[in-house]
């Protein structure tokens, strides 16, 4: 007889379970089991994966949860009495599953969704009791397992001998008849300990005494005994205590026996318990039979119980439709034609209409009309809110989406194929993603909840798994290692999976020092580092916690909360326990509403343009826009100066000039070092070039060397080659190189006549070993039948095979290219407003301080912090006097100053302007430390100047410091109270005692870096300049004038660190540094990595030696051969005769805000 495990935690029981659902299901099936339960702690986090795994293994799924129950006797609802397992009964049209979902949502309802909450995830016994019976049929639909971790089981070890019986009787009194079973578990710990056979015997006897069925489980945490040490480490991570501490308490699992034991092992375990209880063979048989009987009761039918693979969309009435949804969709598309294609006629009209019919037929066939209407409704709602939004992804391939205003890309114009998005052969709901302004995303979510009703909407969650750094930290904590030591090791772990830690020790130069210490263990007897490596590998990828997915919103009908448990998210809105992998199996409609900072930055820039240039005429003059047909400027600028970015024509020459210059810092998608290099080589001339550029800059094409031949053909260095003239129309736009998914589809279609829908299925099969062979057989035969020669067939198949699995969907590229173009357009025409938007919303990959450098390069003045002029956001300001008079500058924002609270900020801005420090104190109530920091940043300099007096900034800071120290609430120190009403200017400022030397530039820059993470007064490299000059270091602005292959020294602050995937699999490290004149991109190949070692990821200021590589007419980068840490002057390569530099204080000394300064948290 086979045994069914009814109490099993998967890895999705965060910080508890060890094994993946697939491992568990396979192990159960190969032992001959016919069913397996998944009872994760606190939720159904692993349930859908469990269903999938069980279906694949050919066994029946059983679903349940391991849930804490509150102590009825506790005063507050915070005391947990114990945990029980609750199983859903199956084959009752989902009544059991529904009750389970609702019960779990109950358990989370009182929690806050924020970390560190005091309310536990738990239910009351009354809630549990009420969910066990179906409200309609009044039949039991849940079964509650009272086991070793319940209040009954926990009382076994106590002194009060009768306590377990009292507690057990309470359960029987409180829960409906037939919903309770006793769970017998022995993990063979020492007699009398928790999970011992002795305790199992007592539980068995309690069940016997009260005529309650007893069942046997093994309270499984790992599929094989090998998982036990991992479970120990997870216990440590969960409780935040080291293993030695836990062992003392004792809080660790008493033994390592909690694995998915085989049927025969479980039978033997049953025998041992029964014989220890003094029972006989009949009792053993009863225990095993009852276990199987409960298993049978709980077998789940995925389709009828859980709605497996059945798409559910909101009811038609909710989206305001009274007629057949498909009729509605047809009517809306027709209405869209005149708007999207005004005046279309003739062949173009025929072509468009036949495409529309084609799409509508497929949509109708799949029954997805309501889905499209739902997405259109959401899209309409967002636009009504006045929020910038753009559809992305393959949804842009659909003419229907274009006509109903979901997408802004005309698929006919860009040759996009509907089948790439949806076809007869794909029955799953397609993804439509909508990008919105990041700053508005949460408002959009709230509106969706309001519009569709809280019962139909929930946020999607995501699982966060262990990566190398987190894993090494938690493994180190488990071993009781020193925090600092583990932190140092964690710092060096960069972009590899924890599972390959030991392998990485051999290969990665930055880990060489650590690897040496691991090998040293035999000498100094320290075995901990070796264990650390093993335990880190064990934690790899295990889920740590769930969080709100950055964009997924689930939309359903009124039954949504019967199909997914929900819990509060940090945002306050409910979040499903299911992640993106669970959507398709559960037929859930997921909408990706993605917050894109660039959209916010652009919206901000457009508003700044209006504020500074409040009329069309001003905007046209400031942006040097063409005067248009009527001489009044282009149509996309409104009379009030508002620019409709979506209406800007995509052929602006100034914009393309900017792009070709590679000065694209801040532009969407094309600002990374790699992209700037590619753009320099490619020199885009038109919008389609941008689509191609974005599509080429992907791991696949970069890895497989598609870029070089493309560029050679494009620039005419090599003739374009087509495998066959028939393919020329398909491949011409990319000069014969296959770049887009769309081209793969057409190639299949042209050469085999298979149709585009099948072609997309073929494309999906590429790269899948099993399926690819079938595709190859079909392709070869069909292409030969159409008369293509074996050479052509071979050649084309080679291309399909190589590029098919990772080419790029052109619809994605087109959707991305729009904001790319728009951001470049803004940078070209309104750079001040654009940079202000970038600073405000920080959309890019670089630290903010690099954009300061960019402003400096563009000659845009950066205006210092000023208590009366700076606001809560960055602002463009016209400069009134001085050498820059008449120019536009950017005024620094009060937001983002270290230590200045949001309320202080609000009050300061509300109270502006201030005529004195006393006025500021009285009305803004800013704290003394904040006022001192503002003084350090020079925010009072102009006020100070107006007040007269001879003191400087240092004197003022000193004065404020004194006040701060002497003032603990004593009266009398606030000497200047009362001067408020006198229009005398600031007596306090005027009377600040002079005497200190004025702060040096270095000191000012230091304060800026420390408090704002930007260097405004001067570039932070400037103080190094004399030393760099003596070393012969060259600056970024001079680099372009050098010949290819010149050996140079460069120096700067790290601004970007990337390890993109490369051809041949060997790691290449890109490090970009900024030296104040621009950005230098350097590439470290294998040998240079070996030489640079720990400097690769551990240093902020770098001196790099390398040779120049010309990448294009306007692009140059560096191939590095060696690097040094500029902070350690003694290591620098001075000539022997050169004297060492005297120790100079550098602005970065002692400042630890590495991430915000260098964009790197190493």
């Amino acid at each position: 007889m086979s045994f069914t495990h009814l109490h099993v935690s998967t890895a999705f029981s965060a910080h508890y379970g060890v094994s993946w659902p697939e491992e568990l299901a396979q192990a159960a099936a190969s032992d001959g089991a016919t069913a397996l339960a998944c009872t994760d702690r606190d939720g159904l986090y692993g349930t859908i994966k469990h269903l999938k795994a069980c279906l694949a293994a050919g066994i029946d799924p059983i679903v349940g949860v391991d849930l804490a129950v509150l102590d009825d006797d506790g005063d507050h609802r915070t005391h947990v009495a114990g945990r029980v397992v609750v199983l859903a009964r199956g084959h009752n049209n989902g009544a059991g599953y529904r009750a389970l979902c609702r019960l779990i949502s109950d358990a989370h309802a009182r929690t806050t969704g924020k970390s560190g909450g005091t309310v536990p995830v738990a239910v009351t016994r009354a809630e549990l009791a009420s969910r066990t019976i179906d409200p309609q049929t009044l039949k039991p639909v849940l079964t509650v397992l009272i086991g070793p971790d319940s209040d009954v089981g926990r009382a076994m070890g106590g002194r009060r001998y009768l306590r377990p019986r009292t507690l057990f009787k309470q359960w029987l009194d409180d829960l409906p008849q037939g919903t309770v079973v006793a769970e017998i578990v022995s993990q063979l710990s020492a007699p009398g300990k928790p999970l011992s056979t002795a305790h199992a015997v007592r539980m068995l006897k309690l069940a016997e005494e009260h005529h309650v069925p007893a069942i046997l489980t093994n309270a499984v945490r790992y599929w094989a005994a090998d998982g036990a040490p991992t479970a120990d480490v997870l216990d440590s991570a969960r409780t935040l205590k080291s293993l030695p501490e836990l062992a003392d308490e004792p809080l660790l699992q008493p033994t390592g026996q909690g694995w998915l034991k085989s049927s025969s092992e479980m039978l033997r375990l049953g025998k041992e318990i029964i014989s220890a209880a003094g029972y006989g063979a009949a009792d053993l048989k009863q225990l095993m039979t009852q276990t199987e009987a409960l298993a049978d009761l709980c077998r789940i039918d995925p389709a009828t119980d859980m709605g497996w693979k059945q798409p559910v969309v909101p009811e038609a009435s909710v989206i305001g439709i009274s007629q057949d949804p498909h009729q509605e969709l047809i009517q809306r598309c027709q209405a869209g034609i005149s708007r999207r294609f005004p005046g279309v006629s003739g062949a173009a009209r025929e072509n468009m209409l036949s495409r529309l019919d084609h799409e509508l037929a497929i949509i109708s066939n799949l029954g997805f009309s309501s889905y499209f209407l739902t997405v259109a409704e959401v899209s309409r709602m967002i636009q009504e809110m006045g929020v910038r939004a753009a559809a992305r992804g393959s949804g842009a391939s659909s003419l229907v989406n274009y006509l109903i205003d979901v997408s802004q890309v005309n698929p006919l114009q860009h040759d996009l194929i509907f089948e790439r998005f949806l076809s007869r052969d794909r029955a799953t709901l397609p993804d439509i993603d909508i990008d919105v302004e990041s700053a508005e995303r949460h408002n959009v979510y709230r509106r969706i909840f309001k519009r569709f009703g809280a019962e139909r909407v929930t946020l999607m969650s995501m699982q966060n798994g262990y990566r190398a750094r987190g894993a090494v930290r938690d493994a180190g904590m488990a071993l009781g290692m020193d925090d600092g030591e583990v932190g140092e090791i964690a710092k060096q772990l960069w972009r590899f999976s924890a599972r390959k830690f030991r392998e990485a020790l051999q290969e990665k130069p930055e880990l060489r020092e650590f690897a040496g210490r691991v090998e040293q263990r035999d000498l100094d007897g320290n075995q901990q580092l070796d264990l650390l490596v093993d335990l880190t590998e064990r934690l790899d990828r295990l889920p740590r916690h769930i969080s709100m997915h950055p964009c997924g919103v689930i939309l359903g009908d009124a039954t949504l909360l019967d199909r997914s448990p929900v819990q509060p998210s940090g945002l306050g809105l409910p979040m499903s326990q299911f992640d993106k992998h669970d959507m398709d199996p559960m037929g859930m409609l997921k909408l990706d509403v993605l917050g894109v900072r660039m959209q916010s930055a652009m919206a901000f820039a457009v508003r700044e343009v209006i504020r500074i240039h409040p009329s069309k005429k001003d905007v046209v003059a400031a942006g040097k826009h063409s005067s248009g047909q009527d001489g009044n400027g282009p149509d996309y600028i409104a009379e009030n100066g508002h620019i409709d970015l979506n209406a800007v024509p995509l052929d602006d020459e100034t914009t393309f000039e900017l792009i070709r210059s590679t000065h694209t810092l801040g532009c969407f998608q094309i600002e990374s070092p790699g992209q700037r290099e590619l753009i320099g080589k490619m020199a885009p001339r038109e919008f389609n070039d941008l689509i191609i550029d974005i599509s080429l800059f992907r791991p696949g094409p970069m890895k497989s060397d598609m870029v070089r031949p493309f560029l050679e053909h494009r620039h005419g260095f090599a003739p374009e080659v087509y495998p066959h003239p028939d393919l020329k129309p398909v491949l011409a736009e990319t000069h014969g190189v296959t770049v887009f998914h769309e081209q793969i589809l057409r190639t299949f279609d042209v050469m085999t006549g298979c149709g585009l829908a099948r072609a997309d299925e073929f494309r999906r099969a590429l790269g899948n070993e099993a399926l690819e062979t079938e595709v190859e057989v079909f392709f070869r035969k069909a292409a030969r039948d159409k008369g293509y020669t074996p050479e052509v067939v071979d050649n084309v198949w080679g291309t399909l095979k190589a590029f098919g699995s990772f080419g790029f969907c052109k619809a994605h590229g087109a959707a991305f290219a729009v904001p790319t173009y728009q951001s470049a357009w803004l940078k070209a025409h309104h750079p001040e407003a654009f940079l202000a938007g970038l600073w405000e919303h920080d959309p890019g990959m670089y630290p903010k301080r690099l954009l300061v450098a960019e402003a400096r390069r563009l000659g845009i003045p950066i205006l210092p912090l000023d208590i009366n002029r700076s606001k809560a956001e960055y602002r463009v300001e016209r400069i009134e006097k001085g050498k820059d008079a008449g120019k536009l500058g950017i005024r620094l924002s009060l937001n983002g100053i270290y230590g200045l609270s949001a309320t202080e900020l609000k009050r300061i801005v509300a109270g502006q302007p201030y005529d004195s420090l006393a006025d500021l104190r009285a009305r803004s109530r800013a704290s003394k430390p904040s006022i001192k920091r503002l003084a350090q940043l020079g925010a009072f300099d102009s006020l100070h100047r107006e007040a007269g007096g001879t003191a400087n900034r240092a004197d003022l800071v000193h004065h404020l410091q004194k006040l701060q120290l002497s003032s603990s609430g004593r009266k009398g120190v606030e000497v200047l109270e009362g001067q408020l009403s006198l229009p005398l200017g600031d007596v306090e400022l005027r009377n600040v005692k002079p005497g200190l030397p004025a702060p040096t530039l270095v000191e000012n820059v230091r304060a800026e870096l420390d408090l704002m993470a930007v260097d405004v007064s001067s570039h932070l490299m400037d103080s190094h300049r004399p030393m760099l000059d003596r070393l012969g270091v060259i600056t970024a602005d001079k680099l372009l004038g050098l010949r290819n292959g010149t050996e140079v020294l460069v120096a700067g602050v790290r601004v970007a660190t990337q390890t993109p995937p490369m051809r041949g699999g060997r790691r290449v490290v890109f490090i970009s540094i900024d030296d104040g004149t621009g950005c230098i991109d350097s590439v470290f190949f294998h040998e240079a990595q070996e030489k640079a070692g720990m400097l690769l990821f551990g240093t902020r200021l770098l001196l790099i030696r390398g040779t120049t590589r010309r990448t294009g007419p306007r692009g140059i980068s560096l191939s590095a051969s060696m690097a040094w840490d500029l902070g350690r002057t003694e290591t620098l390569p001075f000539k022997d005769s050169s004297p060492q530099e005297p120790e100079a204080r550098h602005p970065l000394d002692g400042i630890s805000r590495s991430l915000s300064i260098t964009g790197f948290s190493g």
Binding site: T197, A225, G256, L531
Partner: protein
């Protein structure tokens, strides 16, 4: 009770239960149903490696508590009244047995 870690040879039944043992040159017979359980090890202090795939026996080890009587009464020594209670452990990977503790021992033969 004394704490020991001495090597012993154990003969087991088909089910894996100890039946008799050879300890310091003398042979003993198990005279009552043995009790078995598992005990934790301080593996993080005792092991230098615990890679994935280590298998069982890292976290715990098996303990058998047996009651034994000498198989052959040595000459000149009177028959003991009480059986000896011993805790044995079997190393999972090597299969070797060690004597961990002697209970109720009036006079342990070795220290």
């Amino acid at each position: 009770m004394g704490m020991f870690s001495q090597s012993v040879d154990v003969v087991c039944s088909a089910e894996g239960q100890p039946q008799s043992l050879l300890w310091a040159g003398d042979s003993y017979t198990v005279c009552a149903e043995p009790v078995r359980w598992y005990e934790r090890r301080q593996w993080w202090a005792e092991e230098s490696r615990a890679p994935l795939g280590s298998g069982p026996g890292v976290v715990d080890h098996e303990i058998w508590r047996v009651q034994v009587l000498p198989s052959h009464t040595p000459r000149g020594v009177p028959e003991p009244d009480e059986p000896l209670t011993l805790d044995l452990t079997r190393h999972i990977r090597s299969g070797r047995w060690r004597l961990l503790r002697i209970h109720d021992a009036l006079r342990p033969r070795t220290a």
